[in-house]
Amino acid sequence: MTLSHLATEDVFVVERNDADFRAGQGMTKGLGIVFRKFRKALFGKPNSDRADTEGQFNVQYPEERLAMPEAYRNMPILLYDDATGHELCTSCFQCERICPPQVIHITQAKDPATGKPVPAAAKFVLEYDTCMSCGYCAEVCPFDAIKMDHDFELSTANHPELDVDYNRLLRPVSYYETIAPTMWSDVKEQAMKKLQNNIKRRPGDIGRDHGQKIKGGAPVAAAATPAAGAAPAAAAKPRGPVAAIGKNMPEDKTAKLLAIRAANAAKRGGGAADAAPVAQAAPVVEAVADAPAAVSAAPTGPVAAIGQNMSEDKRAKLEAIRAAKRAERGE
């Protein structure tokens, strides 16, 4: 918001030492201003121009949502590969060590034949109730296996539910790709390479199939989300495990929520091309049809999406850094 935006009529200077007859002019003007605000908010269109000072800015939260910034972090999740079902985690204990509130508890997997440790976790428990969302674990993870989720609707009446175990922590890589496309594309190659190396050292099904019921690279999607019939598979795919958290919800509510999330994911333009029809199908999208164009459509791809709240020069700088990194990696 700039000062020039405030037209002179918006600023009322009441001269306190004016000897003239005032007769409540200030009060009348004040009432007038408030009434104008009332009129604009009641009859005007919902306002999306943040530089403006009048009108309705509200986002009606459960139905309408603002797009999250990519780097938004709430709670940690673990990633697995869509195709093979292998988890990226190698139980290197970096995250457990750095975690300030010490809420990560890992047990390393062992080869049943030899009894030697294997680069995979047998158990992985994270106490969501004590986690402080610092993101150190995601930062420190050398295998990009632990990432910060965008889901913040975790409230539950059942407290022990917040000690989240492996099969509720796992998310497919494609899910993370939808919520943070740029950030994933930066590390994708590296992470996948490391994963391939690790898979070689994992005998049998170890490091695979922690409650995911994936066999031989079957599509993960629909399996975990029977309730989300309305939501297209591609968009709903990542949300299987999350539905487990909100399992106290009624069916239709869950479906609705999933539809909303799908729509949001589509809006974010997170690479999923087949999410486009969803955007038109979901009724919720119409509610936010007036939302700023930058949010609804992302023709410039992931980068534009991440930089929504950034200034131009900052974004350019970031882009330059990324380009340099890519060049470094020899792309």
Partner: protein
């Protein structure tokens, strides 16, 4: 209603009893439903003034929000401080609500009058005065210093503003020649139902003064000093929770509703409006009710607008406003009202003059002349008084009473 019941064959005392019970029930239901609507209405409109949307989830447009909140407050724990005076602490909200409900006995709904008391106007003020007892009981019985401070402040404010409030009504009583609300409404039915008092200079000033004093009586912002939350938590309501707090809240909003109803009745012609008399009968009554509610809720909207605009006064500002600003203006208004009455209703005041010149009638051409003279005269008096008071209370004229910033900076104050 009692007569109709007697015709149906009830004993006379029984029909009186039944009619009273029905009336009381209707008043109570009307008052509390009105209060519920009022809370919703205030919150929605103040939300839009602050670029928000307000409660819009429970029921259509959030209309059921008050019900959900009533259920919430009633199921909450009702805590009483250990060292409180238990009985006084318990009775305070009862007294407050009782006083408010009493005032609803005489308040008309359009052209429906529950009880047509002879001194109805005074009755409303008197029941308003009873609030101060409840406030004092709440403040003292809670055994809490903030509650006591709030109670004391509230009582001081209430008894100070009662004076301009009562005296602002006197012009209306003078112009009508009666204190009965029914007669006051009837007197404003000239000019096809538009002869409201607010259109005369006397009534306009009276309306402004009465409404301002009523804001203070109803503890509305900017006069919400008894419950100034930034200074004394919640004033006399500090130690109240659950059901008792809900009763206080109910009483507050019902008295605000009563203030709007009374102001609409006294100055805005009550249920009068174009077309009421033409329709007549039940349809006319309904139309008058609609007019009346529209006027009342428009007045409440002004209250909300003021609440959204004006910051809270200081205690000394509050008192000097009542005694130095409202009171002189109210006295001047009584003066000009007596001029008005003398010019327009002299047949009732001086029978001798009527003997000599004949009674004035509205159809008479000379009466229009008198009306014009009366309007000009009272307008001059009132405008002159307002200008004079404004001038006298102006900061610059009273410069010696205020310290300037320079003096403060030099430590000379």
């Amino acid at each position: 209603m009692a007569d109709a019941l007697t015709q149906l064959g009830f004993a006379s005392w029984l029909s009186v009893l039944i009619a009273s019970i029905i009336k009381v029930t209707l008043i109570l239901v009307g008052g509390s439903v009105g209060m519920m609507f009022l809370t919703w209405y205030e919150r929605r409109s103040i939300s839009y003034m602050q670029d928000r949307r307000g409660p819009n989830r429970v029921g259509p447009q959030g209309l059921l929000q008050p019900i959900s909140e009533a259920i919430k407050t009633m199921t909450k724990e009702d805590a009483t401080p250990r060292d409180a005076d238990k009985i006084v602490h318990f009775l305070a909200p009862v007294v407050m609500l009782g006083a408010t409900v009493l005032s609803f006995a005489v308040i008309p709904w359009g052209r429906m009058f529950p009880v047509d008391l002879n001194a109805a106007v005074l009755f409303v003020i008197a029941t308003g005065g009873l609030h101060s007892i409840g406030m004092m009981m709440a403040g003292w019985g809670s055994n809490n210093k903030f509650a006591l401070l709030g109670g004391m402040r509230g009582v001081a404010q209430l008894i100070s503003y009662e004076i301009p409030q009562v005296m602002a009504i006197i012009p209306v009583v003078l112009m009508t020649g009666s204190m009965s609300l029914q007669k006051i409404v009837e007197a404003q039915n000239d000019f096809a139902g538009l002869g409201w008092y607010v259109f005369s200079p006397v009534g306009l000033l009276g309306f402004a003064l009465f409404f301002t004093a009523s804001l203070a009586e109803g503890e509305r912002t900017p006069f919400d000093i008894p419950e100034a939350d930034s200074e004394i938590i919640a004033g006399y309501m500090t130690e109240y929770s659950g059901m008792k707090f809900a009763v206080f809240y109910l009483s507050n909003y019902m008295s605000n509703l009563a203030v709007c109803f009374i102001t609409a009745t006294l100055y805005l012609g009550g249920g009068n409006g174009p077309g009421v008399d033409a329709l007549g009968g039940i349809a006319g009554g309904l139309l008058s009710l609609i007019y009346f509610l529209l006027k009342s809720f428009a007045l409440f909207f002004v209250m909300v607008l003021i609440r959204a605009t004006v910051p809270r006064l200081r205690v000394d500002q509050l008192m000097s406003f009542a005694w130095k600003f409202l009171l002189p203006l109210v006295l001047v208004n009584i003066l000009s009202a007596s001029f008005w009455v003398a010019l327009l209703r002299w047949d009732q005041q001086w029978p001798k003059l009527t003997e000599w010149f004949g009674a004035p009638s509205t159809a008479d051409a000379t009466n229009w002349g008198r009306l014009a003279i009366a309007i000009v005269l009272t307008l001059l008096i009132n405008a002159g008084a307002v200008a004079l008071i404004m001038r006298l209370t102006n900061r610059n004229v009273q410069k010696h009473l205020y310290t300037t910033d320079e003096e403060l900076a030099l430590g000379l104050s």
